[in-house]
């Protein structure tokens, strides 16, 4: 129930997510999924840098790598400090699978077809992840420093969402 939104939206973005049970995620699962979402965006960005020749797309991808690396390194610091281990879970696994499928699709594209597909995926991905972090993860998390980290991370991801929206509109994709 809690993650129905993410599942539905990711499905709409042509990724496949299994239906989720009603069980709420615990702090360690949320930490795992938030970290995974960042790592996946970094992987998309590396693909964009390998394929795209568009300066705006490349600069966006560089920013994704820089910002998500910074947030995730703060997450690692926090996890180390709390001496806990994030837990893999269905949602993380579904995100990983969905992103693998999307990367396979993107790898078949080049030029403006790639740029548009990458940009649109970045927009959709950030929208879905942000909504999940804001509506589900932040309210559910019980450990204060993790809540704080997610709140700061969300501020970053929202900027990315706006930036992605701008990029999609500048690319004038049909």
């Amino acid at each position: 129930m809690t993650f129905r939104l993410l599942s539905a939206a990711v499905l709409a973005g042509a990724m496949v997510l299994p239906a989720h049970a009603a069980e709420p995620m615990n702090d360690l699962e949320i930490a795992h999924t938030a970290y995974t979402a960042g790592q996946l965006d970094i992987r998309y960005a590396h693909l964009a840098l390998a394929v795209s020749e568009n300066a705006d797309v490349r600069s966006f991808a560089e920013t994704m790598i820089r910002d998500h690396s910074a947030v995730n390194s703060a997450a690692v610091d926090l996890i180390t400090e709390l001496n806990v281990t994030p837990q893999d879970n269905d949602l993380s696994r579904a995100l990983v699978q969905g992103a693998a499928d999307k990367r396979a699709e993107l790898m078949g594209l080049s030029g403006s077809a790639f740029d548009c597909a990458y940009a649109q995926n970045e927009l959709g991905y950030h929208q879905v992840v942000n909504k999940t972090v804001e509506d589900s993860f932040i309210p559910a998390v019980t450990v204060a420093p993790l809540k704080e980290l997610l709140t700061d991370a969300l501020a970053t991801f929202k900027v990315h969402e706006g930036h992605a929206e701008q990029m999609v509109s500048n690319l004038q994709c049909s």
């Binding site: 840098l49 490349r58 600069s59 560089e62 920013t63 790598i65 820089r66 910002d67 910074a70 947030v71 703060a74 700061d152 991370a153 501020a155 970053t156 900027v159 706006g162 930036h163």
Partner: protein, 109 residues
């Protein structure tokens, strides 16, 4: 890629490198960078004063003159950088990583 671009920026900002020398004199006027904004977004200083930026976000930022004549380079979380402004004038600057982040410095005589 990132390195190349940053090198270009610093090459374009040789004057900035000179101006970015630490000045011992007046205490710097502080501009906070938080939630992807420069705060305050307009600062007035006197010629000979310094601005010091402090980044409070996780995301790395820069403060870079619109014409790239000076550039703080990357500031990570908790990172600071300062630039000395010796001559009167108005500077528009932004973050090269997040170009919607814009602000102004007014240097008076």
């Amino acid at each position: 890629m990132q390195l190349t671009r940053r090198r270009l920026i610093s090459a374009g900002g040789l004057a900035a490198a000179a101006a970015a020398l630490p000045a011992a004199a007046a205490p710097a006027v502080r501009v906070r960078i938080r939630k992807f904004a420069f705060d305050p977004d307009t600062v007035s200083i006197k010629a000979g004063e310094r601005i010091e930026w402090v980044n409070e976000d996780f995301a790395p930022h820069t403060a870079t003159e619109a014409d790239h004549s000076w550039d703080t380079g990357e500031m990570g979380k908790g990172g600071t950088a300062s630039v000395l402004f010796e001559t009167p004038g108005t500077h528009s600057y932004y973050c090269v990583y997040h170009p919607h982040m814009k602000a102004r410095i007014v240097v008076t005589a």
